[in-house]
Symmetry: C2
Subunit: 473 residues, 2 copies
């Protein structure tokens, strides 16, 4: 088994700095065996123990490991948290909560102590159970390939690697090793994540499946290697599409180019959406097939200004202005296309007004009368020229109010509702409430980006000109 560890490091980790290794040790047979093997292979180690506070004896176990570490002359760090109460506070299952807190601890310690690698003791039986669980619950390639021998968990750290040197070693081999070297497990660590479901798999279903194929466990382990290779090929294809679809990941949302998505195969889309979900909701481990399929269908059929569809785990897909967003709250999304104003502000000629919080500014100037041809050539909908002599009174910029109406340039009689204009101009719903209107007292002078008022237009008789321009900071 020592040889196997050496060849693991040779084959899987050939090209990078690997020490010190932070070893996650629970005190059970698997992690004691791993620790012993790594110690014998003369690597620089740090023992890290996380106390889940799930058993009354857990404190003694931590103390026992501290003594063991000191006898070995190896650094020892420990952390402790009440997994049960964390789980009930956050609505996690016990297994999920334990995983999250344990990895939080391990990665934080590794960062602080400068360990580029964390070793954990998952073994071949764990792998078989994990794959079988994914198979039963429904999983894509990523779930069916099982755990990876060397991986990263970006939700905990972007750089530190997680390695599983025992992933091809069976439980019985570990037990035999512990016997041979008189390692005395402090607890049966398998109890930790032996939920009822996993327990049934281990003790009932797997032995049952072995009556269909006596080599079932080995078969599954081999399939997983083959599938992991195929997953790499899929990843390469997805990486290529990722750029084309201009996927941008932020903390609370992701955005993608809708036009490119429409021309992308469903197989690629599924993978992109899975990756995005895992980024926006770290901790999701495999994304429900229907959820992904719903989003794929949404992309193929989306119509109108903006629309949304449920995705998974509180996330939804939201289509707007040629973009697909995935988020759990529209407030997280940028409004790159449209200015917004929350607080009414007075506009002073010759000054610049900042529209609070939206990153846009408004500049108002009196200028000489420009060539009319120049005004007609204008392609920037966020600037306007008006007859300055008509503008007397309080000039201000404010957001929309119910019942706002005005007469746009070119309309000879009557008025239109601002709300109707928004609909006709396909202004997204979420941009309407705080869309800025420039007003003279109660009269709407200009809706930046859309229309100006007919009454204030430049005519042959205009003698002074007011130039208004909105721009992004």
């Amino acid at each position: 088994m020592l040889d196997r560890i050496s060849s693991f490091f040779e084959q899987e980790c050939k090209d990078s700095a690997l020490e010190p290794i932070l070893v996650g040790v629970s005190g059970g047979p698997d992690s004691l065996c791993l620790l012993h093997l790594l110690f014998r292979s003369k690597r620089s180690l740090i023992i890290a123990h996380f106390d889940h506070q799930l058993r009354p004896t857990s404190l003694q176990e931590a103390e026992g490991l501290r003594e063991l570490a000191s006898r070995m002359g190896v650094n020892f760090v420990t952390g402790s948290q009440n997994v049960r109460s964390f789980a009930s506070e956050h609505g996690f299952s016990l297994e999920e909560a334990a995983r999250k807190l344990r990895y939080d601890f391990l990665f934080t310690q590794a960062r602080q102590l400068g360990a580029p690698v964390i070793a954990v003791a998952h073994h071949a039986d764990d792998q078989v159970e994990t794959i079988l669980m994914h198979f039963l619950r429904g999983a894509g390639l990523n779930g069916l390939k099982g755990m990876t021998a060397v991986t990263k968990l970006p939700e905990f750290d972007p750089d530190i690697r997680l390695i599983r040197p025992l992933l091809e070693t069976w439980r019985w081999e570990i037990e035999a090793y512990c016997n041979e070297f008189n390692l005395e497990p402090m607890q049966d660590e398998s109890n930790l994540d032996q939920t009822y479901f996993r327990n049934r798999l281990r003790h009932t279903l797997i032995p049952d499946l072995e009556t269909y194929n006596p080599g079932f466990k080995m078969t599954l382990l081999r399939s997983s290697r083959s599938l992991a290779g195929d997953q790499e090929l899929v990843n390469i294809a997805v990486d290529a599409a990722w750029g084309k679809c201009r996927v941008v990941l932020s903390d609370n949302f992701a955005s993608m180019d809708m036009g490119a998505l429409i021309n992308t195969s469903p197989a690629i889309l599924r993978n992109i959406f899975r990756r995005v979900a895992i980024h926006v909701r770290p901790g999701i481990r495999d994304v429900n097939f229907e959820a992904v399929e719903r989003l794929v269908q949404f992309v193929k059929e989306v119509k109108g200004v903006s629309s949304r569809i449920n995705f998974t785990d509180g996330l939804f897909g939201f289509s707007e202005a040629g973009k697909l967003y995935i988020t759990d709250d529209l407030d997280h999304l940028p409004l790159p296309e449209w200015p917004q104003v929350e607080i009414e502000s007075i506009i002073k000629i010759g000054k610049t007004v900042l529209l609070e919080g939206s990153g846009w500014v408004l500049k108002a100037e009196e200028i000489d009368i420009p060539d009319l041809a120049e005004i007609h050539r204008n392609t920037d909908p966020f600037q306007v020229w008006m007859d300055a002599d008509l503008v007397y009174g309080k000039l201000l910029i404010r957001n929309r109010k119910n019942g706002d109406r005005f007469r746009p340039l070119g309309m000879q009689t009557g008025k239109i509702k601002v709300s109707d204009l928004f609909i006709n101009e396909k202004i997204p719903n979420r941009a309407r409430k705080n869309f800025p209107l420039v007003c003279l007292d109660a009269e709407i002078l200009w809706i930046p980006g859309l229309r100006s008022s007919h009454r204030f237009r430049i005519t042959e008789s205009t003698r002074k000109c007011l130039h208004l321009k909105l721009s992004k900071l």
Copy 2:
């Protein structure tokens, strides 16, 4: 269900000529339901029935279907073969033999009758059983994705498409449909391939797995769609590598460029080797993981002139002269690099001799004495210049005999064994026996491609020159 059939044709088969459809009908509920649906959707059909001769009543069943077809006004074709004796003759399982003979029949009929499409009645329960069987026995992505709704079976026909319109319809829906329309199955077609293994899956294992996840069957069906998409992505990657590795498929072997294989990722190699195996041994449906892995390892480690490794189903991998071959017999492989001669032939000056069966010819001419510098500049090892005055006697070309020796150009005394020369020059084993030697009576004059005899070399005193040249036809 009629709507489902319509949307199947809309979505899966949108862009091609589809009629007439040859429908495989056994007379069981699945195929009767399929036939009825296709008939109601007003497509042009041909009913094709294959009698496996597995039951004493099979003749009556065929007659029953003939009457049904005539009542429907649909063309009817039938075939019959003793599956059981075919299976025992060829060492197939009953299920394999039935599949092979049935598809042989269906594709042959479709070709003869100009049907571009064959429809078969596999349904969602069949799909679940197939995937589960692959999962238990060990399968890559290709096995786990299950059957495909629209596919081709190149081992039977390169162009005709096989469609499975009921692949997302459950057995209970088919039974309900048969009841609704009073379709009377002539037999329970599921008996046909109900081997013991499949039977246990259907009646024991699947209900058991549903206690772990009540929606297990639906889950698996969905996973299969997702995996099928990923398989397409993998196929695209493999297609690209296929060209780079210069994979050439012949009837009895495949050849690949070893240098390119060495620089190809194991995940791609696995897929290439699987595809090659399926081509060289049509009828293999999924290739054993170890077999593939052995070949991948072989590519990474291969050394020496030529070596071989067992692959699968009697096939082996064979590395030689920068190529990897996959075949079941070295005699199938070309010897593109080396001339071969099976029958001794007399060489006449001024004439050309064809080396029987090898595609090479030898031309012998007397020429003026060339510039010695020209001879030294020669880079073609298959031509030689000799002193013609020394060449009197019987000039012939023959293959190697045990004990052949000669003194190569530049060697002053003694002789070397031709067999040692072959080894030093890395002539592959299989090319040695029939390697051509040009002799004057019993004396070796020239070994084309390798060395000429010291005694016949051109010297200052040469007055007449014999020019020998071997070339490919």
